[in-house]
């Protein structure tokens, strides 16, 4: 296994039509029979040159519509470039849309065969890998039941197991890693790493910048079909993040009156509040125990963060909650996308609540930050930063960042554990 992809000066142009094209006779009758006019063209990719090498993973970042998927399609051979060339060596496989071609009425066994040939293997090749696929999916017990009886997670596991076990030389991955349970996700990532280390060239499209930093050896940043930057993931992700922050300032409306946060602090735009304010956060509460609003907790206590938001009803934000210091260090940074939480359309307004079972931070002054982001992380809708203070107290004041519950034991070298306890101290937050 040693694949590679060389993309040379690829450009691709799409045709834009006047409106949604009528797709049925009825729509056409309603709109009249005049032909749909061509509005113009969109350059989906402009002069893109990049290489995916054997044994390396290339991460592609960019906003929605930046040309990432188009590039992946061209590399996958399902679309042809207008200009430029793509040279692929080795067998190519895609983790793009899972379960394509599978049928819910058929059994897992039958669907593995179908999924395998749809992914480009011959029947013989699928049969050779069959046991491995079943083992990877962890569906041994259900393999002869119809896929219709599977849960969403099980279906995903089946689809992923088929796709990853095709032993590709070139693997294309489009965002599929953001679904499924954490344990299986970790297993998939591990498998992808192994495939890569065996000499497969991997191209990964993702919105998860941490994934790019952790998994990729190279990164490409696309914007409007052009390459903005191409290089080391850590450097590129840093640039990408600061560009996002700049975009957020750009879309932030001017002349927003100051607001008073529930903590009593004043929210000032571009100071401790950022975003387009298409959605607005209010009534942020930090509760411990649940129901009682506090600004001070003991280390190890539970914390509930709760807030409401409303605004443009059609938006579906990514909700982020973090705990950090005034200097910007984040100690906890979680969001609904990474945790696989389904967020409904905003509608008339929503209330968010997250329960953190224990806050095992070292004592000190922290802030709880809450934010609503555009699903592609392009900009913030509303982000309250350093507006909700949280003081953590602990009578022992250990330095460092963490203060988890702990047990000490110091044993005699000779006596062993049973009788040699000379000193022990226990603390349970």
């Amino acid at each position: 296994m040693a694949g590679s992809v060389i993309v040379q000066q690829v450009s691709k142009r799409f045709t834009r039509y006047e409106r949604e094209r009528p797709h049925t006779m009825k729509e056409r009758m309603i709109q009249g029979f005049r032909p749909t006019r061509i509005l113009g063209h969109t350059l989906a990719l402009q002069d893109v040159t990049v290489e995916a090498k054997a044994g390396r993973m290339l991460g592609i970042v960019g906003q929605n519509g930046s040309g990432k998927s188009t590039l992946l399609r061209i590399v996958g051979g399902v679309m042809k470039p207008d200009v430029g060339s793509v040279t692929t060596t080795g067998r190519l496989s895609g983790l793009l849309e899972l379960n394509t071609g599978m049928h819910p009425e058929l059994t897992g066994r039958e669907n593995i065969l179908i999924g395998g040939v749809v992914a480009g293997l011959t029947r013989q090749q699928v049969l050779k890998r069959f046991d491995e696929i079943v083992a990877f999916s962890e569906l041994e017990k259900f393999i002869d039941s119809p896929v219709r009886t599977y849960s969403t997670g099980m279906k995903m596991r089946l689809g992923f197991a088929v796709a990853i076990n095709t032993e590709p030389d070139v693997l294309l991955i489009d965002e599929v890693l953001s679904v499924g349970d954490m344990a299986f996700q970790a297993k998939c990532l591990d498998r992808i790493r192994r495939v890569r280390d065996n000499g497969c060239a991997v191209i990964l499209i993702t919105h998860d910048l941490v994934q790019v930093e952790k998994l990729c050896q190279e990164a490409l940043w696309l914007d409007g079909g052009r390459v903005v930057a191409h290089g080391t993931p850590t450097v590129l992700v840093g640039q990408y993040r600061s560009e996002m922050a700049r975009k957020t300032r750009e879309v932030t409306p001017p002349d927003v009156p100051e607001a008073v946060a529930s903590s009593g602090r004043t929210l000032r735009i571009n100071e401790n509040r950022f975003g387009s304010l298409e959605l607005q956060i209010s009534e942020v509460r930090t509760e411990s125990p649940p129901g009682i609003n506090v600004e001070e907790i003991t280390s190890g206590a539970p914390l509930r963060v709760r807030f409401a938001y409303k605004g443009k009803s059609s938006l579906v934000p990514v909700i982020s909650i973090s705990i950090g210091r005034a200097d910007g260090t984040q100690l906890l940074d979680v969001n609904t996308r990474a945790d696989g939480v389904v967020v409904p359309q905003t509608g008339a307004g929503q209330t968010v609540q997250i329960d953190l079972d224990r806050i095992d931070l070292a004592p000190g002054d922290y802030f709880v930050n809450v934010g609503l982001f555009q699903p592609g992380w392009e900009h913030a809708y509303d982000y309250h930063w350093a507006a909700y203070p949280l003081r953590i107290i602990d009578e022992r004041h250990p330095p460092g960042a963490l203060s988890p519950p702990r047990k000490w034991a110091v044993y005699d070298n000779v006596g062993g554990v049973q009788d040699g306890v000379r000193a022990q101290s226990e603390r349970n937050g």
Binding site: F14, R91, L113, V117, A119, T122
Partner: protein
């Protein structure tokens, strides 16, 4: 795109076609009580209606009418079922269009082959019917596979074209059932071209389905060898359609993803 040999690619096509035809077949009758009997039920019901109408209500005076009309129904149904499935091949399978390594052009073949299975299942019944109505089944039956092959090529050529056209004009999907229904009445499925007035005759004779259905009747019912020149002409036209259709399909397939 795949660095596999031509042979492996051919093998892959075969596996894709075989497995997806089986998928469609299994899935179609999964929860039915009588399973594949359904694939025979529809042509048989049409047979009964036509038999009643055109021997009892209006007598068309066609000998061995049950076999005569059953041959027409089966041959036409094959085309109709195949085309109605094939038309949405590209527009209805976005997932597969996006799938690297998947030979999308195999889907129309699958549509034609799936519908052909129905024909095959009903074939024994047709032969029994012919025997019961007194046809002397002879060695000309050996030509049945040849006629089927030519019809396969003909349907497949049209299948590629309608699937390709449906990308730019979704109307094709709407118009096709209507056109097929109209075609049913302009093809000698339940009547005979002998009854068609002389001046309209060329229109009927230009219809490849007329030639194909006539050929089936000749070799099954009358023990005659088919009209080879006519069949040859249909094959030539079908092969040309197939070639043009295939390239048009590939063109449309790439265009499908480019329209915003």
């Amino acid at each position: 795109m795949l660095s596999t040999s031509k042979f492996t690619r051919l093998l892959h096509w075969k596996d894709v076609i075989f497995l997806l035809v089986m998928r469609d077949f299994k899935a179609r009758y999964k929860h039915t009580r009588i399973g594949m009997v359904w694939s025979v039920a529809s042509p048989v019901l049409f047979l009964l209606i036509f038999y009643f109408l055109f021997t009892k209500v209006i007598n068309l005076q066609i000998p061995q009418y049950a076999t005569y009309v059953f041959v027409g129904i089966l041959a036409w149904n094959w085309m109709q079922t195949a085309l109605l499935q094939a038309v949405a091949t590209i527009s209805g399978n976005a997932g597969l269009v996006n799938q690297p390594g998947f030979p999308l052009a195999s889907l129309p073949v699958i549509a034609v082959a799936s519908a052909f299975l129905n024909f095959l299942i009903a074939l024994p019944l047709m032969l029994i019917l012919a025997w019961a109505e007194g046809s002397h089944l002879s060695t000309t039956l050996l030509c049945v596979p040849i006629v089927m092959m030519i019809q396969f090529v003909f349907i497949l050529g049209i299948a590629y074209i309608v699937a390709g056209l449906n990308v730019a004009f979704r109307d094709v999907e709407q118009a096709l059932p209507i056109l097929l229904q109209l075609g049913y009445y302009l093809t000698p499925v339940f009547f005979s071209v002998a009854a068609v007035p002389q001046r309209f005759l060329p229109v009927f004779q230009a219809n490849p389905m007329t030639t194909l259905i006539d050929a089936y009747r000749q070799v099954i019912m009358y023990g005659q060898w088919p009209a080879w020149p006519n069949l040859g002409a249909v094959l030539a036209v079908s092969a040309a359609l197939l070639l043009a259709g295939f390239f048009y399909f590939q063109h449309a397939r790439y265009r499908f993803l480019e329209e915003l």
